[in-house]
């Protein structure tokens, strides 16, 4: 994915109650090394009609955050230690599994990374959509099947009426992801969570699927939480971005702001490591050295300091906290006021 012009646009009116409000979310996982903290104090809100991008490398906690919202953390492995998740005014943490089942697929729906394995190979795609419609709408088989055909058509599956009777293996990768999207919107959810929806797809298909998601969010006035490691994806469809690193939110910004002027060295690293079409200034692609820490061996001080080109001695000791810089921006950098970021490691 190449870098494209960041979308301009601002979040909806912030005075209205947000659709999704996550506050101080702590998620722990049971690893070989004992219980380890995976998501540390995540706080964010998502308004109706907007798209929030959640960006970071693998292992940054972005997918776990979304699974926690969906109540889909693998039992016996993951748990929400504390914090609150409010969806449309309903507190989700502590809800019974039965109540969560009523909400999942109805008020919120999710699209996964691998359309090839996320659809059940043993049932037709129409059946897999219709059963969800019947579950939440309580309609009969006939109406549910009609609804399945309708949404398949809406996401651009040609000959939806006959294709509904096909099995997942009879579709291409891009079409399978469209089927997943059709399924997710079949009950008109207010929140759509898309976890790396384009990562497994061909580059040419990626843009189509993103455009489709963007259109659906606008047409149905949904809110979308878009999880990706690819800032190019965020640029195309998101209004606001959260950058996560090692389980923490390290920067929050409007997408346009983030592209113009990152306020955290990790965001800068992500930006400069994106491939550009523009004139090649250096021979090789920049990258962030090293890899994210394991959850059970988080570094002291700022969690990014071992990989940060700007790290000073105090970054090793002082804990970095998320500091609000303006109404739309926050950064978790101890040197946020001293650094002039945006060029990649050249102070």
């Amino acid at each position: 994915m190449t870098m494209s012009e960041p979308r301009t646009g601002s979040p909806a009116d912030t005075s209205a109650p947000p659709l999704l409000e996550v506050d101080g979310l702590m998620v722990d996982f049971n690893t070989d090394q004992g219980w380890a903290n995976i998501v540390d104090n995540a706080t964010f809100r998502l308004d109706r009609g907007t798209t929030l991008g959640l960006v970071g490398e693998s292992g940054s906690g972005k997918s776990v955050t979304s699974l926690a919202v969906m109540g889909l953390l693998p039992k016996s492995v993951g748990r929400v230690r504390s914090g609150s998740i409010r969806l449309d005014g309903t507190e989700l943490t502590g809800l019974s599994e039965r109540r969560m089942e009523d909400i999942r697929g109805d008020t919120m729906a999710m699209i996964f990374q691998e359309p090839a394995t996320s659809l059940n190979p043993a049932f037709t795609v129409g059946d897999q959509i219709a059963e969800m419609v019947r579950r939440h709408r309580g309609v009969n088989r006939r109406l549910a099947w009609d609804r399945a055909i309708e949404v398949l058509g809406e996401v651009g599956i040609p000959n939806a009426r006959s294709r509904a009777k096909a099995y997942p293996h009879e579709f291409s990768g891009g079409m399978r992801q469209r089927v997943m999207i059709a399924m997710a919107i079949s009950c008109e959810p207010r929140l759509l969570i898309a976890d790396e929806p384009t990562t497994a797809l061909d580059v040419t298909i990626q843009a189509q699927v993103l455009a489709l998601l963007d259109r659906l969010v606008r047409d149905h006035d949904m809110a979308m939480l878009l999880i990706t490691h690819d800032l190019g994806v965020i640029a195309q469809v998101s209004d606001e971005a959260l950058v996560m690193y090692a389980g923490q939110i390290v920067e929050r910004a409007l997408v346009s702001e983030l592209y113009q002027l990152p306020r955290h060295p990790y965001s800068e690293g992500l930006l400069v490591s994106m491939p550009q079409i523009a004139p090649r200034t250096s021979a090789r692609l920049a990258s962030i050295p090293g890899s994210p820490p394991m959850p059970w061996q988080q570094p002291s001080g700022c969690r990014f300091h071992p990989r940060c080109p700007y790290a000073l001695e105090r970054c090793r000791h002082d804990e970095a906290i998320l500091v609000q810089l303006s109404e739309t921006r926050s950064s978790r950098c101890l040197r946020v006021d001293e650094l002039d970021l945006g060029r990649g490691g050249n102070e």
Binding site: R104, G105, A122, F123, E131
Partner: protein, 314 residues
């Protein structure tokens, strides 16, 4: 789907033909002279020659094969070398006994293994799972004849709860039929249930980790719908394979169990025929067993097409 069934069926026919040739070749492979077996050591050369002529032993081997297969196609397996009775009617008489035993054993083993495999797989790592896994390992290890003896002693000899020997036709008295079947069928089916439990447990565990199970939960489906629709249809593919393999094992197990519980079934019939070198009977039993195995494999193949639509492709 219909095309697939026809294709598989047409594949089974040459296979059965080859099996019939091998079965017939038993004549050539079994040591000893049937005429001598029938007439005894003291018989005169003329008597033996007469018997050989009657059995058609002087004809060329191909002629004899076609004569035999021609009859077999009409379900005529000839007559026993000794009793002169029709092998077909003897088998027909004994079939209900063996069939009852095998079917009840299969039902018992499914009644045990389906819930046990599902519970163990869905609760893997818990105490339930450990206990069921240990139980299954023991079930595999216990020989059926030992279990049969033990059950007879406990339920029939020391206590008068169930009959230890004999067979009552289901038409005569379904209750008595069931009582007579219970001990032998349980002895026969336990090992199968243990194998199936272990197979189902492991395929449930693998299937639970699949992305489409997470999708089904993300759709808000009720837990039982996720398990009984999305999980079970996929997890049953390896279990059905295992089940298909159990059926011939159950059938061969009837040989021992019928002897142990004095059931006059095909297993017993086959054992005495082998001991007496009663060739037409042995041939009939071997061919029948082969047909059962081929049909079972056919059924397993066809069930794959239902369970996994991908295999419906060429």
């Amino acid at each position: 789907m219909v095309k697939l069934v026809l294709r598989r069926l047409s594949g089974a026919i040459p296979l059965l033909f080859i099996i019939s040739i091998i079965t017939f070749s038993l004549v050539l492979m079994i040591p000893g002279d049937p005429a001598l077996t029938i007439a005894g050591d003291s018989a005169s050369e003329q008597t033996l020659a007469a018997i050989r002529e009657r059995l058609g032993e002087n004809d060329p081997i191909l002629t004899r094969y076609f004569a035999w297969i021609g009859d077999v196609l009409w379900l005529d397996f000839g007559s026993s070398l000794f009793s002169e009775t029709s092998v077909t009617s003897a088998i027909w008489q004994r079939l209900p006994v063996t069939l009852s035993l095998a079917v009840v054993a299969l039902v018992i083993s499914l009644l045990i293994s389906l819930p046990a495999g599902l519970i163990a797989g869905l609760n893997s790592g818990t105490i339930f799972d450990r206990l069921l896994t240990i139980g299954a390992s023991m079930g595999v290890a216990i020989p059926s004849f030992w279990l049969g003896l033990l059950l007879s002693v406990v339920f029939a000899v020391n206590n008068d709860w169930l009959p230890a020997i004999g067979y009552v036709s289901i038409a005569e008295s379904p209750v008595e039929w069931f009582k007579h079947m219970l001990l032998p069928a349980f002895s026969l089916g336990l090992a199968s249930s243990a194998t199936l439990t272990r197979q189902l447990r492991s395929s449930v565990i693998t299937t639970m980790q699949q992305d489409y199970i997470r999708t089904a939960r993300a759709k808000g489906l009720r837990g039982r719908k996720v398990v009984f629709k999305h999980l079970l249809k996929n997890a049953s593919v390896p279990a059905v394979t295992s089940l298909g393999l159990q059926i011939p094992i159950l059938l061969s197990g009837t040989v021992i169990i019928e002897g142990l519980f004095s059931l006059n079934g095909i297993g017993n019939y086959a054992v005495s025929a082998v001991l007496l070198q009663d060739l037409p009977v042995v041939q009939a039993v071997v061919l029948l067993s082969a047909v059962v195995v081929v049909v079972t494999n056919l059924a397993v193949d066809i069930s794959y097409a239902y369970l996994n639509p991908k295999t419906r492709l060429q």
